[in-house]
Symmetry: C2
Subunit: 344 residues, 2 copies
């Protein structure tokens, strides 16, 4: 047996398990023990088994299907991105399949395998919160498989990305709070392993600095899950000291802001008179809560459109002379509503 030509059968025979077990172990599916997975993967590595390469080389014609890997479909921002993706894909004769990872690395890895075995022509990816090692994407790129990252830019070389200028969005939101006379502005931040969280925090800090205000480390609180109940608890804690508490909140996203608003109102404080609040992402509900929430609107639809155009270019353009497309960075828009408007 030559290296690189090992089959699933070879691996199954050597380990005395079924080919189905080998296939599922390689795809990191649940229902197979970690021990078996380890054994199968070690042997596959040793024999230089490359399922992707084989699958890819076997593909004779286009499937006219692209895949989208996203953390959560329920997140309003991602659902607007999907609409943009579908708009461009359908107009160009492509269908779209979605896989959600629920922010889990293990599901992201098995999604990649599912997508590949389903013979899609290319994939759009916003990776999970858990992902810090990007080797599963690197493998795809090494096989020249078309892949475009959106919203979340991975720590890999030569990727094609469509992102949002989150630094500027956070800067604008914070500067707006300053313009309304708020001086003790806290930040409910996103998970620290996401670059978008980092950029939003940096934009917030720069706006404070430009206004001559000093940021307080204990007023920057990470909200790892991003749930309403979590930020409710965090805001309760943040506002409990009556003599030393913030007068405004810039939140990582609108659900986080909404949870904090419930806490602030519960404490008898008025929004926007006592406390100003600005969120991020302009969720559907944000104009309907009390008071309506100011927020930073991301161009989700446009992100989807841009990312899909780039991906289709990559799928179409594999001839000599083809150049990798350039990254795209899109601007946000500050939507001012009552929750932060106390200067008439």
């Amino acid at each position: 047996m030559k290296l690189g030509q090992a089959t699933i059968k070879d691996i199954a025979k050597e380990l005395n398990v079924s080919t189905s077990t080998v296939s599922r172990a390689l795809k990191d599916y649940p229902g197979i023990s970690d021990e078996t997975k380890r054994k199968v993967k070690e042997l596959a590595d040793r024999l230089n088994y490359r399922p992707n390469a084989v699958a890819l080389s076997l593909r004779k014609s286009k499937s006219f299907t692209i895949g989208v890997i996203i953390p959560e479909v329920v997140h309003f921002f991602f659902s607007t991105v999907i609409s943009g993706v579908e708009e461009v894909a359908h107009a160009n004769g492509y269908n779209v399949i979605l896989v959600q990872t629920n922010e889990k690395l293990s599901r992201e890895k098995s999604s990649i395998e599912t997508m590949l075995s389903n013979q899609i022509d290319g994939v759009l990816v916003s990776y999970s919160r858990e992902t810090t090692d990007f080797s599963h994407f690197k493998k795809l790129m090494d096989l020249d498989f078309p892949i475009v990252f959106f919203d979340r830019k991975p720590d890999l070389e030569n990727t094609v990305n469509v992102t949002v200028n989150d630094y500027q969005g956070a800067y604008d939101a914070t500067r707006h709070l300053v313009s309304q006379g708020y001086v003790k502005i806290a930040h409910l931040a996103g998970p620290s392993n996401l670059a978008i969280s980092k950029r939003r925090k940096e934009g917030y800090l720069k706006a404070l600095e430009d206004a001559g205000l000093s940021g307080r480390p204990d007023w920057i609180v990470e909200c790892p899950s991003g749930s309403e109940s979590e930020s409710y608890q965090i805001a309760m804690e943040l506002f409990k000291d009556k003599t030393d508490r913030p007068d405004a909140i810039f939140a990582h996203h609108d659900i986080v802001a909404a949870g904090a608003m419930i806490a602030i109102k519960k404490l008898g404080l008025k929004i926007p008179e006592d406390v100003g609040v600005v969120g991020y992402s302009n969720w559907q509900f944000s104009s309907m809560i009390d008071p309506p929430l100011s927020t930073v609107s991301q161009p989700g639809f446009s992100i989807g459109e841009n990312a899909t155009h780039l991906l289709l270019d990559m799928i179409a353009g594999k001839e000599p002379g083809y150049q990798r497309p350039q990254d795209v960075m899109l601007d946000t828009e500050l939507v001012i509503r009552k929750s932060s408007l106390r200067v008439p």
Copy 2:
């Protein structure tokens, strides 16, 4: 050439087009003229070309992937269903791919083709608002392809369905409004071609009847798009006559209710003192709006779990003696919040 053995090549040759054009025309992909699609399909029919049958019979092993076809991922109800589906699927070693139809029949049809050509083992379907002819599903069923319908039950024999008792949910919501002293209860209804809309309207009418109240046809208004702005307009119209207007609204879903609430408040009426409002589906935002919205909660997660269990049974159970699983109907739960609570 024997009937039933025609290939895409045969069709392409006869019509003097490329095989890729034939393939895309058969899949109803955009980017191919209607004229070409018609010609290709007519010839395919004449030659008894059966892509699904061929694809299915060619399949040698399971893909351990199931597909979900849904109208819209952004709809909170569907996203909770997806969570339930993924819970059961992943626990059983299956991956899940999603396709959204945006409530369009054409996308639903091409989704079915995409799913089949991607060699999934079975499919969960909630069909689009536009779908009144179910022959594309009938074809799958004739091929013994595992399929379970959820939420929306098609007008087909021998389907396996997981639905919600919408009649009872609507009855409970309306009876609750009656118990709060509302006597002029209007209904903002869903699209009339969906069975769920019909059942909700029937539950509403029965509750009125049981309370000795007579329904008024002009107070039952269909909201075809289900958007907030649409129901805002409808409610403005419904409440414009000060001497003859409803004192309560039972809405087909929460977005519709939220749009009506904005109109009611705009007219200077108080919720719940002057007008009571109950929605449907218990969207994420419903507890956060002003006042918090009473609603009928559907067991989305449980629908997803049940539907997936049935589907996996069907996938696993194709031996002799296998019996089709029974339909499942799940109960709703009335969630009472401030928008309909005027009796202390």
